[in-house]
Each structure stands twice: as structure tokens, then as C-alpha cells.
Amino acid sequence: MEPFQYHRPGTLSEALRLLQNHGGEARPLAGGQSLMPLLAEGILAPQVLVNLVDIPEMRELSWSDSGGLSIGAVVTQRNLELSPLVQARLPSLADAVSKVASVPVRNLGTLGGNLCHAGPGADPPAILMALNSSLRISGPTGERVLPVEDLFVGPYENALAEGEVLLAIQVPPMPAGAKAVYLKHSVRAIDPAIVGIGAMVQVRNGLVREARIGMVGAGPRPVRARGAEEALRGRPFDEDSIRNAAQAAAAEAEPLTDGYASAGYRRKMVAVFVRRALEKLRVTM
């Protein structure tokens, strides 16, 4: 590990000032579960680390009936998974974060850090896209809001500008009667997803009113399966529409080959896991 200066600010304004003063030489640190290996191997060598874990706004986890769940960026994945609030309001999210790595990694690793790291096989992006989440981003010129899918630019590359931090993740309440699920396909529990599918479906009067599907492992970055969503909307939620949606998802996927799986295998698994996710929702409706 190269030497660096270490700061642990107690306020957001102090953190933003530190990040701005050091420009591109400074990097935020949250749980360190993705950053530490990169520092240890010398892949990254920032001159300044700004630990965000004490910033009060980033530590909050709260619910409001209008806005839904607000998750401070440094809330750990383990706390989310075990939170009675999250389990009651958004059980699919609690379940999805429980699929991340191992208990020790989830004990320190934060949801904000997971998203900002933008790892191609990360689990939370798929369910957060399905749940129509947005991100509150804070920077030197104020705050902005970004749909979660717009955070991911490419593998390990996020859309934050220099000096910006992710403040919180906002997950709206589930639409009336809607159900959501996350399915992960990996060999070992601790591996990133070969394919991960998050799906949310709302049925009204026998027809699909709203469908949102988030996919990881289906391309260089997490994406919505818009073709699959289209194949469901306005149709009965039955075997036919589910089969069409699974085919559409596989067709629109642009998977990569890596050490875990080939592109061809991933494309097949996209179809399989979209179908399984939708069938799982259908039997509960």
C-alpha cells in the first residue's frame, strides 16, 4: 500500500471541502471492502483518503409513506439485510443484499460503496433498478438526483464528477399490489453474480400494468431489460408473456466473457433467470 493522508471528517461539508481541495488525488473511503484490495495491490494509489463513515446524513436509514426508504450511503449491507424496517417494506431488497459476498464483507461494506465501485457482478444494482430507485448526489455546487441506472458508466466506472459523493439511495414504496424479487446465479456464495435479475411486476385487472427488470452480468454495466418489460406491459401475466420477456431479455443482453463465465453461457442464463424470476412473482399473485 502506498502512503496516503487519512481524514475522517464528522460533517458532509468538511468531507466535500477535503475532496475538493485535493482534486483528483483524493478518494472517498466507506467500508473499504472493494477499495482495500485495490490499494493493497497498488492498482490505486490516492494521496488522500476521506473516510465517510461518520457523516450523519450518510448514516440515516428512514422510511416515509410518500418517499419510501431513504438509505444513507454508508449504511452497511448487513444492517440493511437485518433491518426489520427493510424486511417489512422492501423484502426483495433485504434479500438481495443478503446475497452479497460473506457476512464479514457485508458487516463493513456499504450500499453506497457497492454502487460507486460499479463492479460488473454486483448484486444490489439489479434490484434497485427494478424498484425504481434514485440517488442523491452531493458535490461542491449542491445536490442532484440521478436514476440509479445512470450511475453505471462501465466496469468500475461511475458517473460521479470529481468532488462529488453519493449521499443516499432513495427507494420508493412498492406500487399497490406489486411484487419484486432478486435472483442471483453464482457458483459460490462469495462470487459476484454470473447473472443477477431483479424484477418488479404490478398486475391490475388481469393485465401487467408496470414491469421493471434490472440485470447484472448481462453487459459491461447493470442495465434495465427494456425489451422484456415491453413484452409484459399491457398483457396477461402468463406463461406466454413470460416466455416472450425472457427471450427479449436474452436478445437485448450484451454479455461479456470473463473468468466466471462465457458470454454465450451468460446470455442463456439471462433467459433462464428472467423466466424464473417472473414465474416466482406470478405464483405469488
Binding site: 500500500m1 502506498e2 502512503p3 496516503f4 493522508q5 487519512y6 475522517r8 473511503l29 473499504g32 471492502q33 482495500m36 484490495p37 490499494l39 493493497a40 495491490e41 483518503l49 473516510n51 463513515v53 448487513r78 459476498a101 460473506s102 457476512v103 464479514p104 464483507v105 458487516n107 463493513l108 459460490r188 456464495a189 462469495i190
Partner: protein
């Protein structure tokens, strides 16, 4: 610039002056000479470096020692109390689950934490709890058996 940090390790207080680019693992092993915590991968994959930080298992290779300032840490050296092995340690010996010195410290700490949170785990829950602890040789069967045996013993006669 060195930072002066305080750590409570196995009930003892330590004050160490360290550069910020040191992992908790290196400070435990090299500065405090507590080498029961092992270094396997330094990437969070193996769990050989598992310690309990303020009641939660973490990989000591994935946290900066400065970030652990003020915290309380349990390492494998602190698990036996007054010369008496912890029931998890006893069970590992009895069931032949102590297969090597590399993964065992981490396995024991993960198992102990699981049983404190969930005294009656299913076999699946045991397997999930040690998913971050890699055995690179013999296998998990005896380890899982040992942990389940402790749970069964505890159900019969709760230990303090």
C-alpha cells in the same frame, strides 16, 4: 504522518503509533505480535484473517488500522477464557474439524459469532455463515458437523 490509535484487543488496551496505510491485520500480527490471525489472500476472499470488531466479524485485511481506532477487537487468542477452551474450540477438536492452523482461527470466530446471533442454526445457515471462510484442502463436512454439535449441546444445557 503517524496516527496514534487505541485498540482494545482481547480485553487489553493498546496504544500504537502507525502510518495510515497499514491494515488492521498487519498491525495485529506485526506490531502486537498476535499471529493467530492469519494472512491468506489480502483480498477478502479467504477469511483466514477474520476477527470480531465491536461484536461483528470482519476481515482484518480489509480494514485500515486507523479506521479501527477506539474499537474493541477479539482475535482467536482471546477466545479461550482462563485457560478453558470455548465450546466451539472443544467441538472442533472432538469432531476432527481442526484440520489445519490456517483456516481454523477464522472458522472458529465465524462459528462463535453465528451461534451468538442464532443459537439454533440449520445446516444451511451454518454453511452461509462460513461462506467467507475458505478451506483450501480438506473440506467443510467436519467443520459443519462440529458447529451443529455445539448448537445441539447448547440447546440441551445452555452454557454461559
Amino acid at each position: 504522518m503517524k496516527h496514534l490509535i487505541k485498540l482494545t484487543v482481547n480485553g487489553e488496551e493498546y496504544e500504537v503509533a502507525i502510518e495510515p496505510n497499514r491494515s488492521l491485520l498487519d498491525v495485529l500480527r506485526d506490531d502486537l505480535e498476535l499471529t493467530g490471525t492469519k494472512k491468506g489472500c489480502e483480498t477478502g476472499d479467504c477469511g483466514a484473517c477474520t476477527v470480531v470488531l465491536d461484536g461483528k466479524t470482519v476481515n482484518a485485511c480489509l480494514i485500515l488500522a486507523v479506521s479501527a481506532n477506539g474499537k474493541s477487537i477479539l482475535t482467536i487468542e482471546g477466545v479461550a477464557q482462563g485457560g478453558k477452551l470455548h465450546p466451539v474450540q472443544e467441538a472442533f477438536i472432538e469432531h476432527g474439524a481442526i484440520q489445519c492452523g490456517y483456516c481454523t482461527p477464522g472458522m472458529i470466530l465465524s462459528a462463535k459469532s453465528l451461534l451468538e446471533e442464532n443459537p439454533r442454526p440449520t445446516e444451511w445457515e451454518v454453511r452461509e455463515a462460513i461462506a467467507g471462510n475458505l478451506c483450501r484442502c480438506t473440506g467443510y463436512v467436519k467443520i459443519v458437523k462440529a458447529i451443529l454439535a455445539v448448537a445441539e449441546e447448547m440447546a440441551k444445557a445452555p452454557v454461559a
